[in-house]
Symmetry: D2
Subunit: 97 residues, 4 copies
């Protein structure tokens, strides 16, 4: 069991619900690109634009989850006593190492 589960560090329910709604819409967007790619005459740049749009939508979900994590778990790490673990896993997920 990870530190996170032991300590009960859960994603807060409203953010979790918001993230789910957005990911359902993102799944629909990916399905749209799949249909687009069935068309033999699809233009590369039109496909690229859709892929980049999905990337942007995923980054928004990542932002929601990150803010929630910062507010609920990172700012309290000193009190909880897991500063090293919290900081290093955050650095990794932010691609800073």
């Amino acid at each position: 069991m990870s530190n996170a589960q032991c300590q009960g560090l859960h994603l807060d329910p409203s953010t979790r619900e918001d993230a789910r709604r957005r990911l359902l819409s993102i799944k629909g967007h990916v399905e749209g690109i799949l249909r687009m790619l069935e068309d033999e005459t699809v233009y590369c740049v039109d496909a690229l634009k859709q892929i980049k749009a999905v990337n942007g939508a995923l980054e928004k979900v990542a932002g929601l989850v990150l803010r929630s994590h910062l507010r609920d778990h990172v700012v309290t790490a000193q009190q909880r006593g897991d500063v090293d673990e919290i900081v290093e896993e955050l650095m990794e997920v932010l691609k800073y190492r």
Copy 2:
């Protein structure tokens, strides 16, 4: 009808098929995150890592499509006579404006 369609600038069949396979897998990955978010005890950073992984997979698809576009349509733009349109739409999709 856009310039691209008039000129028959289509994504080449093997890249199109490769992109479809990868997007199907990406769709499965998004469905996995959706299931993950049904769990009340999900940890924020575990969700973040999965979102970042999907973004990485999408970037790979974007790379495939981009290489195909460069090889098939950008390097021939001077001959075809649509340099301005090809360059500006590429700059836009690469987020350089």
Copy 3:
């Protein structure tokens, strides 16, 4: 006077020194690109590669400063009582809004 200054939230001395050394080297790298651009026969992609290398080096400095900020100021925000300010300014600098 900002919240940060009132509260004495300073970049720790060893990170500050490390960041300075790296930025001095980055400044030298920028000067190298400037000399490179005096050459009429410089090739675009050679210049692009150098610009990207400087970007990478700056991201490393940003990573150092970010880790230091997380360890010294973010994990203690709950105790200090400035969670909102700390979280929102971090989200902004991480380009999540």
Copy 4:
């Protein structure tokens, strides 16, 4: 001697001049951050914001050089006969492999 030099693929003079002016300003910006970091009371996030600003300015220079490269060298690659080399080095500099 690289393909680029043999073939006379040079950065066009006005873009080269524009890039130099911007890089001189970027060098000044880096010097500003160096002075900022001499101050023992500098706040991490203020340093981070300046580093991100320099990265943004460098990305603008990269965009100028990239557009120039696309217009002058990439769209003519088929005619010149160096498609493979032009495409692969571009993919690499755009971090797509």
